[in-house]
């Protein structure tokens, strides 16, 4: 046991614990793998897809409504069939996944940053700042999220940035409440008082000392909220009020195919639906596992 051992990063750090926690559960490992695969597929989507489903010149209207495994006029096959406009479903889904993940991740991260900052400030200062912010949070959480988003989008109109804005507005409160809770618990610990006795500024104490100690719940909620942002965006798009037709997401694909579902052309709606399900489900599985490992009360089992 040499002195060099102490140069290792903290073995109890939450990143190490998260990674080990995920790897120690087969369910979570598979879910995490799926998440990585989906992320890769979305990132390199244009290279993987056999056609650009939104390039009108690449679409052949004569290929419309073909069932899965139909031969392509160019010699390939439509693995998952085609939609009413003759688009390759698989390609459309990859592009849809891209949009869905992008919107979900971006909205989730912005909501996380905003909610975390407000939650930390509320928890650290307490008093009227806390009371004011938490009543605002109660107000936000009192309305069903989808209803708030619907109202906002009805006011603002469609567009990627508007959907993200709506999602952030309905999600920041979740983060703020959770982070405020753990900030409140950490705030009364002696190391915060000690940091104050060293003359550190409030900003330093909040973001340098309080934040790192509140990270585990933030990571867990962040993961789960990204999943719920993706689902919420799909819901909005399915209702026709989310993303515009020019930026189709999985929700929009489901909505388009839904019209043909009753005539037996199930593939147009069911496959994007399955992909959405798998995406949200895997992210949730990872998030649940993180919650188990990072929450000290659950971790003892």
């Amino acid at each position: 046991m040499g002195a060099s051992r102490f140069k290792l990063p903290s073995p109890d750090g939450f990143l190490g614990r998260s990674a080990r926690g995920i790897l120690s559960s087969r369910k979570a490992t598979i879910a995490a793998l799926v998440c990585v695969l989906l992320l890769l597929a979305a990132t390199f989507g244009p290279l993987l897809a056999q056609q650009n489903p939104y390039d009108l010149s690449a679409i052949n209207l004569f290929d419309a409504r073909l069932p899965p495994m139909s031969p392509n006029s160019n010699g390939g096959i439509y693995l998952l069939g085609t939609d009413a406009q003759g688009r390759d479903m698989l390609s459309a889904m990859i592009y849809g996944l891209r949009t869905s993940l992008m919107v979900g991740l971006f909205a989730g991260l912005v909501a996380l940053a905003l909610g975390t900052a407000l939650g930390l400030v509320a928890g650290y200062y307490g008093g009227w700042i806390d009371a004011l912010m938490m009543r605002l949070v109660d107000l936000m959480l009192g309305f069903p999220a989808i209803l708030v988003a619907l109202m906002l989008l009805a006011l603002l109109g469609q567009g990627v940035s508007k959907v993200i804005l709506a999602l952030v507005l309905v999600q920041w409160a979740q983060f703020a409440r959770a982070v405020r809770g753990s900030a409140l618990a950490e705030r009364n610990k002696e190391y915060i008082e000690a940091a104050g006795s060293l003359g550190l500024s409030d900003v330093r104490i909040i973001f340098g000392h309080l934040l790192p100690n509140c990270l585990p719940p933030i990571i867990v909620i962040g993961t789960l909220q990204v999943a719920s942002a993706i689902a919420a965006e799909a819901t909005l798009s399915f209702l026709g009020i989310g993303l515009p037709v020019t930026e189709p997401s999985l929700g929009l694909l489901i909505a388009n195919g839904y019209q043909s579902l009753l005539s037996g052309e199930y593939w147009m709606s069911v496959y994007p639906g399955l992909l959405l399900l798998i995406t949200v489900f895997s992210i949730n599985l990872v998030g649940d596992r993180l919650r188990e490992v990072l929450n000290p009360r659950l971790a003892e089992r």
């Binding site: 102490f6 140069k7 109890d12 002696e190």
Partner: protein, 323 residues
């Protein structure tokens, strides 16, 4: 000029159950390089006195009266920024539990470099050099290597040394130590005590050592102030107070310490409990537990003194009745 002069300090807490007079008229001086032992049982107000000096009394607590002069200027009611510049640089604090006072998720290096740079515009490398030097000063072996470690990789004693090193980073003029060795083994405790003592001598640093343990203070402090129910009931040079205690409370404290008695003789704990700070008895707050109390104790005892030794009691005990 004393480094610190506390004049009739009153810190009260305004809770829903009433006003709690945690510190109710405390006065003392600490000279440059002097060590003051502030002794008392839990709830006597000794910690709140310390927090009042460094300006960290949390609401609903507030300094309602008296003054604190640090190097001849009042530090009561200073604006936050001025006080912050003083904290950590001129006045530092060491806390009771070393497990709790270091941020568990930041490396020692991060915490030390940050503290240096909070008050001085120096490069990271220079701040790091200072950190290593100070860790060496408090007796941490291989400080260069330990710098990258996290608090949980240290033992309790080492952790308290790190906390002391952080307090020493700016060579403050005054350190307030709030029972810093209570959570440690006796052997570690005595090592740290002697180290702190020699450091304060070397650097001309004043030290207020808050403790409930007369034994610790006896070996460390130049003078002692015994607190009871928010007041100093007896104070003076350590030897004087411990050899010739006159206040019945001080005598009671000394009789409660096993080391002061012959083997086999029963301890004589002070009967009863300290009064609730919400509802203190009129007159001497100790009279309900005191073996010497008479009717006169229902009125406020005046401060009496002989040389540097002072007490607040109507019935100062003659040397014969002492342990």
């Amino acid at each position: 000029m004393p480094t610190l002069s506390v004049r009739n300090l009153q810190t009260h807490f305004f809770g829903s159950a009433g006003i709690s007079k945690a510190v109710d008229g405390v006065s003392f001086d600490v000279e440059r390089g002097e060590i003051l032992g502030l002794v008392g049982e839990s709830g006597s107000g000794k910690s709140i006195t310390g927090f009042s000096i460094i300006g960290l009394v949390d609401p609903p607590g507030r300094i309602v009266g008296g003054d604190i002069l640090f190097q001849d200027s009042s530090i009561v009611g200073l604006p936050q920024n001025t006080m912050r510049a003083l904290r950590g640089r001129k006045i530092a604090m060491i806390f009771q539990d070393p497990m709790m006072t270091l941020n568990p998720v930041l490396s020692i290096e991060t915490q030390m470099v940050e503290t240096v740079r909070a008050h001085e515009k120096v490069s990271k490398a220079e701040a790091r050099r200072r950190a290593v030097e100070t860790l060496g000063l408090v007796g941490i072996p291989a400080p260069e290597e330990r710098l990258a470690a996290y608090p949980h990789q240290f033992s309790g004693g080492m952790r308290q040394r790190v906390a002391i090193a952080i307090a020493l980073l700016h060579r403050p003029d005054l350190i307030i130590a709030d029972e810093p060795t209570t959570a440690l083994d006796v052997t570690i405790q005595s090592q740290i005590l002697s180290q702190v003592q020699s450091l304060s001598r070397q650097m001309g640093m004043s030290l207020i050592w808050i403790s409930h343990d007369l034994g610790v203070v006896a070996g460390l402090a130049d003078k002692i102030a015994v607190m009871y129910a928010g007041r100093i009931v007896e104070s003076g040079p350590t030897d004087e107070v411990l050899d010739r205690p006159v206040h019945p409370y001080t005598i009671g404290l000394m009789r409660s310490v096993p080391a002061n008695l012959r083997r086999g003789e029963p301890l004589q704990p002070i009967p009863g409990m300290s009064p609730s700070p919400l509802n203190r008895p009129v007159g001497c707050p100790f009279r309900l537990r005191c073996f010497a109390a008479t009717e006169i104790c229902a009125s406020e005892p005046p401060e009496s003194r002989s040389d540097a030794h002072s007490w607040r009691c109507f019935h100062p005990q003659p040397p014969a009745s002492q342990p």
